[in-house]
Each structure stands twice: as structure tokens, then as C-alpha cells.
């Protein structure tokens, strides 16, 4: 089937989409947007987190057809040109990136948190990131990054 979806502000079209395919597969394999990572394929790890109509979701759990005529914003859509989003800058500066695989999902989840709660408490940060697994950092640097990004708003 054909899927029409707005991705990062651009109208995109994917053809020959299998009906049982996930939005994540469409983004990565058909639309050339590998920022969202494919890991657990069951919503456990959060590394495929994207905005779907401004709500963060696991792209692996959205059927491609459900994204028809909807708006998706991926990690690739957060920066303005070469200017990183403040959350992305904070991740770099705080050393919150090690292997980097979980980073795109965490950046989107943190970005959403700061849109909703500009000055989150530590428990609020932990809760907001509870759906994203990182096996490198032990999370402390990630919490630092979110605090840093919040302090600059």
C-alpha cells in the first residue's frame, strides 16, 4: 500500500509498504531517516521514539497505515539546519552520549518533557525517561544533560 505522511514538515510518500509494517521501518528503510533506532521492536527500549501528531510514541508500535495523513517529527527534525536543538547540545556537552544508540530516543523524550515541563524536578525527569533504556551511561550524564538543557531555557 501507499502511505502519505508529513515527516519533519515535509510531505512524504512511501510505496509498496507492507500492511503489517511499522512506522519505524517506513522511516528508516523507505524514507531514508535512520535517526530513530531499531532495537527491541516491542516498545521496551524507547530508541525509536518519535513525535506522532506532537505526542511521543514508539515508532515500532505504530502500524505504517496508522500514520497516513498524520504528522511525524523524528530526531532529524529537531535541529534547525546546522543549529542543534538545545537538548541535543546539552547531551553533547554533558557527555550523555556514549555508544549513541539510545540517544535519538532519549533526545526526543527529553525534548517533549521540556516542552511540557520547562523546569522539571529530578523525579519528573526520571519518570519522563522511564521508557528509554541506556546500557552505557548509567543515566547520570543523561540526567545532567536534561538539567543543563532546562537551565538554558
Amino acid at each position: 500500500m501507499r502511505v502519505n505522511v508529513t515527516v519533519n514538515g515535509e510531505q512524504r510518500q512511501a510505496d509498496d509498504v507492507w500492511e503489517g509494517e511499522s512506522l519505524l521501518f517506513v522511516l528508516r528503510e523507505r524514507l531514508g531517516l535512520p535517526g530513530s533506532k531499531n532495537a527491541c521492536e516491542q516498545g521496551e527500549c524507547g530508541s525509536c521514539t518519535v513525535y506522532l501528531d506532537d505526542v511521543p510514541v514508539c515508532a515500532c508500535l505504530v502500524a505504517a497505515g496508522q500514520a497516513q495523513d498524520r504528522s511525524v517529527r523524528t530526531v532529524e527534525g529537531l535541529a534547525s539546519g546546522d543549529q542543534l536543538d538545545p537538548v541535543q547540545e546539552a547531551f553533547v556537552e554533558a557527555g550523555a552520549v556514549q555508544c549513541g544508540f539510545c540517544t535519538p530516543g532519549l533526545v526526543v523524550a527529553a525534548h517533549d518533557l521540556l516542552n511540557r515541563v520547562p523546569s522539571p524536578s529530578d523525579p519528573e525527569i526520571r519518570e519522563a525517561l522511564a521508557g528509554n533504556l541506556c546500557r552505557c551511561t548509567g543515566y547520570e550524564k543523561i540526567l545532567d544533560a536534561v538539567r543543563l538543557a532546562a537551565s538554558r531555557r
Binding site: M1, W18, E19, G20, S22, E41, Q42, G43, E44, G46, T49, V55, P56, V57, C58, C60, L61, V62, A63, G65, Q66, Q68, A109, E127, A128, A130, G131, N132
Partner: protein, 286 residues
């Protein structure tokens, strides 16, 4: 595989009647996992996310089956504290943004987080087909492990749940706070005006299950007209009766013996919290 995309409930019911093999999908948090892992290859998917009437609620309350958990927590928590508590323990923020009570009911897993609350709070499940509408009390809805009372041509349309008239509590055991399937869970609802108690266990029997003996014992042991501090013996007996209502198994998440023990503890504690709330004269505020 076909991807069916109805825009109205009437259209969805027509499609389900014509294609009983179509698997309904809303938040996708269960169905997509099965597809991603090739555990299931249905002939068709029936996307319910474009049907406005499934995503709304009205006073009473009648909650559309497609209302995501996050909205139950944020917008219905004051009226349905027990359901909001259970919804808060579901998955992660991303999962709560998508997952729905309708999906919990459709999957009918014994471990589904909202089931004990629906049982303890006298929820009624509204299901529909082109043949008409059926109202199924939650207690008649769960038939077996991942089996519910739905006919092949029916869809889960709404959950009817009265706003809480007394304290409600929910408790769940898991290895961490997020992304856990319940080892076991428990819900209690007090109905002071009716001198009644609702109590139900999750993940501790082939289906979510009400603890009738425990309910009856408490209803006779509690004095709702002039609440006094609870005796430990009442809490203990209640815990024992709740534990006895369960028939759990040993599995990867926990042993049957542990589940029995934990249920008694959860029942005692949640009763203590709920009763204290009544003593304090506070309405639960989620």
C-alpha cells in the same frame, strides 16, 4: 494482508462483520509486538484510531475504548482514582500515550493492569456489532487466559464506570517501576453509601478475578456509618481471603507462593490506605 481504515464506528462494525478475521488495532502496543515478531499474521488489520467516538468520554462515565491511558491519568484521575492509578503503572510514557483500556480488554491478558480496577469498581463493557450492542459486566467479560466474551464480529466500544463515591486503591508488584508486566496486582474500591467493598486480583489466576469472600467479609467487618481505625486482625483476615481467591502459577515473573504472599500484603496495605482516606474524610485525588 489488508489494512482497513474506517472513519466511523458504523463503518468499523460493517467491516468487522464482513471480515471477522480482521484484528482491531488502536495503540498497537500489543498487536504490533506480535506482528514485529511474526507471532501473528492476521488477514487484515482494522485501524480504530480514526474513529472519533472511540476516543471520547461522556458523563456517567462512558469512556471510549480508544481513550489513551495518558488522558485517563491527566483528565479523569479525580473521578476515577483507581483506574488512574492502574493506568500510571502501564509501560512507560510512550506506551501510555498510545495504549488504551479497550486494548487491555481486547488482549484480556490475566496480567493486564486495568482489569482488577474494572472488576473492583463494577465496570460494564459496551461491545457492539452490526447486530446491536451488548453491555457485559466486567465480571462476565474475562473467560480464560487471553480470552474474552467478544464475538467474532464485535468490537469493544466503551467502558462504563461510575465516578468514585469512595476511596479506591491499586497496587502492583514488579521488578521495577516502568515497563513491567505485573507479577501480581490488586485493586480495592470502597462504596460507603452501599456498605460494600469491591476487591480483585490480577496476574494471579487464568483470568483477572474478584475476591468475593474477601469482599463479603470486609462489608460485614467495616462500619461505614461511623468509621473507626481498623483492627489489624481485620486487615490480616482480608489479606488471607484475597490470597485464597487467587490460583496463581509459577512462571518467569514469580512463583505461585510468592504471588499468594504478595497479594495478602497488597490487600492489607491498600485496605489500610483506603480506610485511612475515609477516616480523613478525603476524597481520593489522583
Amino acid at each position: 494482508m489488508d489494512f482497513l481504515r474506517p472513519e466511523t464506528l458504523a463503518e468499523a462494525l460493517e467491516l468487522k462483520a464482513a471480515r471477522p478475521d480482521a484484528v482491531p488495532i488502536a495503540g498497537g502496543t500489543d498487536v504490533m509486538v506480535e506482528l514485529n515478531f511474526d507471532h501473528r499474521r492476521p488477514a487484515a488489520l482494522l485501524d480504530l484510531t480514526r474513529i472519533p467516538e472511540l476516543r471520547e468520554w461522556s458523563d456517567g462515565l462512558r469512556i471510549g475504548s480508544g481513550v489513551p491511558y495518558v488522558r485517563i491519568i491527566d483528565e479523569l484521575g479525580a473521578q476515577l482514582p483507581g483506574l488512574a492509578m492502574a493506568a500510571r503503572t502501564v509501560g512507560s510514557p510512550q506506551i501510555r500515550n498510545r495504549g488504551t483500556v479497550g486494548g487491555n480488554l481486547g488482549a484480556a491478558s490475566p496480567a493486564g493492569d486495568t482489569h482488577p480496577v474494572l472488576l473492583a469498581s463494577d465496570a460494564v463493557i459496551e461491545v457492539a456489532s452490526v447486530r446491536g450492542t451488548r453491555m457485559i459486566p466486567a465480571v462476565d467479560f474475562y473467560l480464560g487466559v487471553k480470552r474474552n466474551a467478544l464475538e467474532q464480529d464485535e468490537l469493544i466500544v466503551a467502558v462504563h464506570l461510575a465516578p468514585a463515591k469512595g476511596p479506591q486503591q491499586f497496587s502492583k508488584v514488579g521488578t521495577r517501576n516502568a515497563m513491567v508486566i505485573a507479577v501480581c496486582s490488586f485493586a480495592i474500591s470502597l462504596f460507603p453509601e452501599k456498605n460494600r467493598v469491591g476487591a480483585a486480583v490480577g496476574s494471579a489466576a487464568p483470568t483477572p478475578r474478584r475476591a468475593y469472600e474477601a469482599e463479603e467479609f470486609l462489608a460485614s467487618a467495616l462500619d461505614f456509618s461511623s468509621p473507626q481505625p481498623l483492627l489489624d486482625s481485620v486487615k490480616r483476615e482480608f489479606g488471607e481471603l484475597v490470597s485464597r481467591a487467587a490460583s496463581p502459577i509459577d512462571d518467569v515473573r514469580g512463583s505461585a507462593a510468592y504471588r499468594k504472599h504478595a497479594l495478602a500484603v497488597m490487600a492489607r496495605r491498600t485496605l489500610g490506605w483506603a480506610w485511612q482516606e475515609l477516616l480523613d474524610g478525603e476524597q481520593a485525588c489522583a
